[in-house]
């Protein structure tokens, strides 16, 4: 729909048009397109075989496994939370709803470093619960649980944020009809609500997943950077980069970039499906 109306323009100054398009493209080229291409350039600078070998390094494989494990825990958890929160917020009227929405949004405006810091303060060696967990032999910070918690905090709002406006817009009549005809709560959700929110839900899940797999700041704080054990893919890219293993670093970065591009393609497709209009 965008740009359709631009076709019925009056006489435009052709120079302004050319200059503005050129400025836009050059700006994007300098800060976005060239940097992205340079990563691919370096990753493949010594040929495909070296690139593939770099990805097969044991530490890198461990990092890929850790990232996938983290996302496999975080994304479903935040999806269930998002659906539950959206159901309560969109289908019922209660006092304090606005505060709840604001609190759900909070992680969006908090620095990722803070998101990691809070868990170190809770579970670190000098943290509130740190000594107790240590006595039980459970390691939270500098281990998988800490990484999962920090990632969960950072990606917390994504699904809920997508679903709340969609479900609010849909109203309650369909569900109320289903319930008054004798359908149970779960049946109503799976047969009535879910089909009408599935694209929005998928959209939120994809964004949540991209952020979960790519999170750097929060995870960097809680991970401790133990190679092969607690480095996720973004951290592994940093470790290799700091060691001047450029092919290795850029190979990992290129995988993450692939993830971003895939996310973007899926997102664009979903938008074309009419799942939702552009984020306002």
């Amino acid at each position: 729909m965008a740009g359709q109306q631009s076709l019925v323009r009056r006489q435009q100054n052709p120079y302004v048009r050319v200059v503005l398009i050129a400025v836009s493209v050059m700006f994007l080229a300098a800060i976005l397109i060239l940097p992205v291409l340079s990563v691919l350039g370096y990753a493949f600078s010594e040929g495909l075989a070296v690139y593939l070998n770099a990805l097969r390094a044991p530490d890198t494989l461990a990092a890929i496994r850790l990232t996938l494990t983290t996302a496999a825990i975080v994304v479903p958890a935040n999806t269930i939370f998002g659906v539950a929160a959206a159901w309560a917020i969109a289908k019922f009227d209660f006092r304090g709803k606005q505060i709840l929405i604001t609190l759900i949004d909070l992680p969006f405006s908090v620095s990722p470093v803070i998101a990691g810091l809070v868990f170190v303060l809770l579970f670190g060696a000098q943290g509130w619960f740190g000594p107790w967990f240590r006595d039980q032999g459970i390691q939270i910070v500098f281990a998988l649980p800490g990484i999962v918690l920090a990632t969960m905090l950072v990606t917390f709002p994504y699904v809920a944020r997508e679903l709340i406006p969609i479900m609010q817009l849909q109203g309650r009549e369909a569900e109320e009809a289903a319930v008054s005809l004798g359908a149970g709560g779960w049946m109503t959700f799976f047969r009535v609500t879910l089909p009408s929110i599935r694209w929005g839900l998928l959209y939120g899940v994809i964004l949540c997943n991209a952020r979960a797999m790519g999170e750097f700041g929060a995870v960097a704080v809680v991970s401790g950077h133990i190679r092969g054990l607690t480095t996720t893919m973004p951290l592994q890219a940093q470790v290799l980069y700091d060691e001047y293993d450029l092919v290795g670093a850029f190979a990992v970065a290129s995988l993450l970039m692939l993830l971003a591009l895939l996310t973007l393609v899926l997102k664009t497709l979903l938008e074309a499906f009419g799942a939702r209009r552009r984020r306002a």
Partner: protein, 281 residues
């Protein structure tokens, strides 16, 4: 509003207790308790000690860089983001849809990747860095580099805020103004800009808020020299690595307060935008 439970309106739909309870519990465990821990940890410091940590020269220098570069980046984005949104809405050109799709890339790209990518291009022997170096501009390892990184991650916020507003501008108003003899510039200033300004302000605030907390895309290009190119989130990380939990918590609380202020500003700007939209109808 007269109900059995008092604070919730009656409804035939089931699941209110279950969903609200689960969402509330999860929110408490993942967000509220951790945030409370930060506030209480920093609050356990005597006030003068907190003040000393929060205002030591190295911390002050990091605020100057973080807020200065974030503000500058948001301004750059307001200008270039507006131009890009304008180009995408008003002009048809080959590759327009591709450019439109690429705008979201900084949202999707892991910050470490954008950081490494920018550092590669802007170091003195990088693709752009070598040309800039030859004209005497050093980007990597200076505040300029920090600003470039913050510009990259803030750009989509401005473009995606301004784009729908520009699409809404009533073309017949522009035509009317032009037929009454207004110049293109005057039409822009008097008709287009006032309509789009609230959206631009929203995009600006969102970009600013995001930039202030940013870590991953900055640290690779910044060089991280204490007092010079060290952002506040990095200073927190350094304090944690030295097991200075209280120092980290104090700076963390400062950042958290700034985030709250930004959140309030975003809501205020949004409210203004919505009131303007309603007022026009």
């Amino acid at each position: 509003m007269a109900t059995a439970r008092g604070w919730v309106s009656p409804s035939v739909l089931p699941g209110f207790g279950l969903t609200l309870g689960f969402a509330g519990l999860f929110l408490t465990i993942i967000v509220l308790i951790p945030m409370a821990a930060l506030i209480m940890r920093a609050g356990s410091l005597p006030l003068d000690e907190f003040w000393r940590i929060a205002t030591e020269p190295r911390a002050l220098a990091s605020y100057r860089l973080t807020f200065g570069a974030s503000f500058l980046a948001a301004c750059v984005n307001a200008v270039f983001g507006f131009i890009i949104a304008w180009t995408l809405v008003r002009y048809e050109f080959p590759g327009r849809r591709l450019v439109d799709a690429i705008i979201d890339l900084p949202f999707a790209l892991p910050t470490a990747v954008s950081g490494i990518a920018l550092a590669t291009v802007f170091t003195p022997n990088g693709w752009l860095g070598m040309h800039l170096e030859s004209v005497g501009i050093q980007v990597a390892y200076t505040w300029v580099g920090v600003t470039v990184a913050l510009t990259l991650i803030g750009l989509p916020f401005v473009v995606r805020s301004v784009q729908p507003a520009l699409e809404e501008v009533d073309v017949s108003l522009e035509e009317a103004a032009e037929s009454l003899g207004a110049s293109r510039w005057m039409v822009f200033r008097r008709v287009i800009l006032p309509t789009v300004l609230p959206a631009l302000a929203t995009g600006f605030t969102l970009a600013l808020a995001r930039a202030i907390g940013e870590y991953g895309s900055v640290i690779f290009i910044a060089g991280n020299l204490p007092m010079r190119t060290e952002i506040t989130p990095l200073l927190i990380v350094i304090k944690l690595e030295q097991y200075d939990y209280l120092g980290a918590a104090a700076l963390g609380l400062v950042m958290l307060c700034v985030s709250f202020v930004m959140l309030l500003s975003i809501n205020a700007v949004n409210g203004w935008r919505i009131r303007r939209m309603v007022g026009r109808r």
